[in-house]
């Protein structure tokens, strides 16, 4: 189908974009990469009267290292993250996750800010940002604020954003020495949305115990989820196979999957949460140990 007709704006600054958003109130949709929005418009699931295109705004597409933090501009494309040397060196789990998003065309256009704002429970970034305890910087008419990843995913397709706010940056605390991560995604076929996905990020202390554990779940609930019980099962302990099995079991309990006619029953997906968590933690551990 063709999208319903709409009016198009291409502001040159964040400020202009926000004042447009403010003026047009719920009638407008922000377009960044458009890889989720445009299909929704074609299916007439979204029928915005106005489109505000962010692509003419300079300075929202970057990846840089700040003090103890990696900063990623909201307009940064998935493929840029996938290929970034900085990301591959400091937070390789993000490069791995990016490589699982859609197909190359989607990754070349789709943006991390757009994907997070879309807040699809099957989107890949949510689990990763949760596992890394990231933060989302947001600009609105009254300036900037920061939302913790834990507070960002309110409900399916509902982020903690006001209608006149824009995501400007994603901040990831730089993982310390002894860290490793893995993002595993189970798909019906390459390029499809996840049946289930698990992001695991861990840090190992010099004494060999687990100092930090972040487990994020994709497509296993109404939003991207943090598997807190699974994290608790790992922190402070030596990560033996038994401990990891325990965490995997906990992740399956943390999951709130639902039946999907295409991508599997709730019970199957819960079982997959277990399988994927076990494997993701093992992989993260081996990477944390320099494997």
């Amino acid at each position: 189908m063709y999208p319903k007709s709409f009016q198009y704006f291409a502001p040159k600054s964040v400020k202009d974009a926000i004042s447009l958003l403010n003026k047009l109130r719920g009638e407008a949709k922000v377009i960044a990469g458009g890889q989720s929005l445009v299909p929704m418009m074609k299916l007439r699931l979204a029928t915005p009267a106005y489109l505000i295109d962010l692509n003419k705004i300079k300075g929202l597409e970057y990846i840089k290292a700040g003090r103890g933090v990696i900063q990623i501009g909201a307009l940064t494309r998935h493929s840029t993250i996938e290929k970034s040397e900085l990301i591959r060196e400091r937070v390789p789990i993000m490069a791995e996750a990016a490589s699982h998003i859609g197909d190359p065309q989607v990754r070349n256009l789709g943006t991390i800010g757009g994907a997070l704002a879309h807040c699809d429970p099957a989107g890949d970034w949510g689990a990763v940002i949760l596992a890394l305890r990231g933060e989302i910087r947001v600009a609105g008419p009254r300036g900037q604020r920061t939302i913790k990843a834990d507070n960002f995913f309110v409900d399916a397709f509902t982020p903690a954003l006001k209608p006149n706010e824009l995501i400007t940056e994603i901040r990831i605390p730089t993982p310390p020495e002894g860290s490793g991560g893995a993002y595993l995604k189970m798909e019906r076929r390459a390029g499809d949305f996840a049946i289930a996905g698990v992001a695991a990020q861990i840090t190992i202390s010099p004494d060999g115990t687990c100092k930090y554990a972040g487990i994020g779940l994709t497509a296993l609930g109404p939003t991207s989820l943090r598997a807190k019980k699974a994290e608790e099962a790992l922190v402070g302990r030596e990560l033996t196979d038994e401990v990891i099995d325990e965490a995997a079991e906990a992740a399956a309990e943390d999951a709130k999957p639902f039946d999907d006619p295409l991508r599997g029953s709730a019970e199957f997906r819960r079982a997959m949460a277990r399988v994927l968590t076990r494997r993701a933690v093992k992989q993260a551990l081996s990477r944390a140990r320099g494997g």
């Binding site: 189908m1 007709s5 019906r188 076929r189 499809d192 006619p261 029953s265 199957f268 079982a271 399988v275």
Partner: protein, 760 residues
Amino acid sequence: MVQAQRWVGKPIPRRDALEKAIGQAKYASDLFPEGLLWGKVLRSKYPHARIKRIDVSKARSHPGVVAIFTHEDIPNNRYGPFNKDRPVLCDDKTRYIGDPIAVVAAETPEAAEEALGMIEVEYEPLPAVLDPLEAMKPESPKVHERGNIARQTHISFGNVEQAFREADIIVENTYTVGTQIHAYLETEAGISYFDENGRLTIVAGGQSPYRDRHEICSTLNIPEDSVRVVIPHVGGAFGGKDDISVQIHLALITLKTRRPARLVWTREESTIAGTKRHAGIIRMKTAARRDGVLLANKTEIIYDTGAYEGLGPAVLDVAIENCNGPYKIPNIDISATLVYTNNYVASAFRGFGAPQVLFAIESQLDAIAEQLNMDPIELRLRNALRRGDVGVFNNKLIGSVGIAKALEIAANHELWRERERYKSETARPWIRRGIGVASAVKGYTLGALPDKGQVGVELTREGKFRVRVSSTEIGQGVLTALAQVAADMLKCGVDDIQLVFADTLETPDTSVTSASRQLFLAGNALADAARKMLDKMRHVAAGLSGEPPEVFDFLDGYAISRDGKTRISYAGIARYMENNNIPLNVVGEYEVPRVEPIPGTLEIPHLFYMFAAALALVEVNTLTGFVQVRKLVVIPDAGKVINPQTFQGQIEGAAVQGIGYALMEEAKIENGILKTQNFSTYLIPSIKDAPEIEVIPVEDGEETGPFGAKGIGEIGIIPIAPAIANAIKDAVGVRPLSIPITPEKLYWLIRSKRSENGSQ
């Protein structure tokens, strides 16, 4: 006369390859006639509803809208290849979501789209029948007046019950098979216009210009010679364009508005309103003796044909014909039912009813081999049909039967001989490998139905040939193969053959492009035409040289006398014929030999069958249920390969389509609503799902075919699903009885076996 083969058997590139690769080839969806109207179809919102009122007045006055048509504009509002049960535009009822109700013609696509929303249809929703087993009950709501049993038949040879009593082992299973969507790159598309001679012209994707024309003319009540149907390059068909799609609606717009029109289905429309492969339930009880000899097979087939029959009655025949596999079985009993439901219309799809039943019988064979502790290929060979044998319907197999040879090649293939080594080479303990085998059989030609085709050959004044066929180029490469055949028959270079195709004005009726037989049919008609043409040319050569006609033979564009002294070029012959008003064209004809149908059937048995064997190597992840096909070996009985390149392409494409059928493709229908309307929800295999595919032809020759060729268009898909299912059984010890074998289905199957064994 021994025919020299210079072009047949050569892997020459397809003649349409370059123009397609660089985007120059025109498909129907590339055409935008000047001054066109945009067509759009309003489709039913309900799977089953009475139409109480259709009000188009608001939509008609919408700016840009030129005309809106409903059933009132259709003189004969029913069509269909067997039973005319399908309306051009719904009148009394709608029978599935997507049933067409009105056609809008507008100046812009936007206006057409908007007008759809302004047409008021008052429906009275009726209870929908969505399960074929429910539909078969007499108390079930009726999809059609005549009831929900579209066709039912029972065929029996020998005495199965007695054989079951005497058998050493009996295997009984119920198989279910899902609905597969053709998913061609190009959706159903076409344009229409009046040509300069006032002839209504439809250019649209299809598989038979003459039959499409017949359907247009019979429904719109216009003379056939006033309509021209052209089928340009088609972006894939696989049987899905064997039925009418846009053609009648286009003709209607142009006929009534006198303006050109364009109607191209969206992907969603294509998945909804296009035909599909029949979903079905197959119950099978198979008996064997301890030594592996098959004694009996009792089969019950139920196919869901959806709201309309389409080619369903014939599809059911092919299921009946092939449900016993390529085997000698003395006692068979088949009950087959074609059921109407308010689901989507099922009709022709590569394999035409055979892939479903072959999945069943080939799984049965594997289960028997397992119970007898016998090599599965040995079991198949023990029962395999051979030329001259009498088939299960008491039909003598006079054509070539290559299944035993294909199975022998499979048995000697490294993948089979060293299967224990292959299976042991897995990287992780939870990944299990398995290797499976399956046979396939299907008739080519239209079987017991009359089946005749004509081909025109014309000598041009340059001494080249123009070959006219109504065969359609649906991606299979038939035009290149025919050019190769023509060049060898007419003794000239392949580039001296020009092909004119699929046009009711320019080409004679070579019948529908289906049933894997266009090369066989057109090739044989071409042989007749070539004989007539060369005979004419021989007489002209005689006239020109004063030598008797019989001394002339033909080579490389020359008529050459036996002593080699007289050489007359084809161009010289052409000029002479033209100057003396000798017609430069001939028409060849071929009627496919056939026998009387078995009582209770429409078109079986065939006289000509294709066969194949396949091996599959799979990896099963026992923790997730995911299956990856690592390697396929496909061994089709090809008779003679005309072009190895297009042959390989056909078989590889069919194999990948078979992987989709086995593992991922399933049209999900809930309450009559299709949940898989595009490629983000309906998954077809991508290059990442395509394994190494080795293709080994059996080339024993079929004397009745051109240069020994048989059909190969459909056979490649048929053994794939059972070979994969058997490989899965080999890998993890559970037998999938339902396709597609999705990860979740297999996951639970593996789990249930584990809990049976008492472990976790």
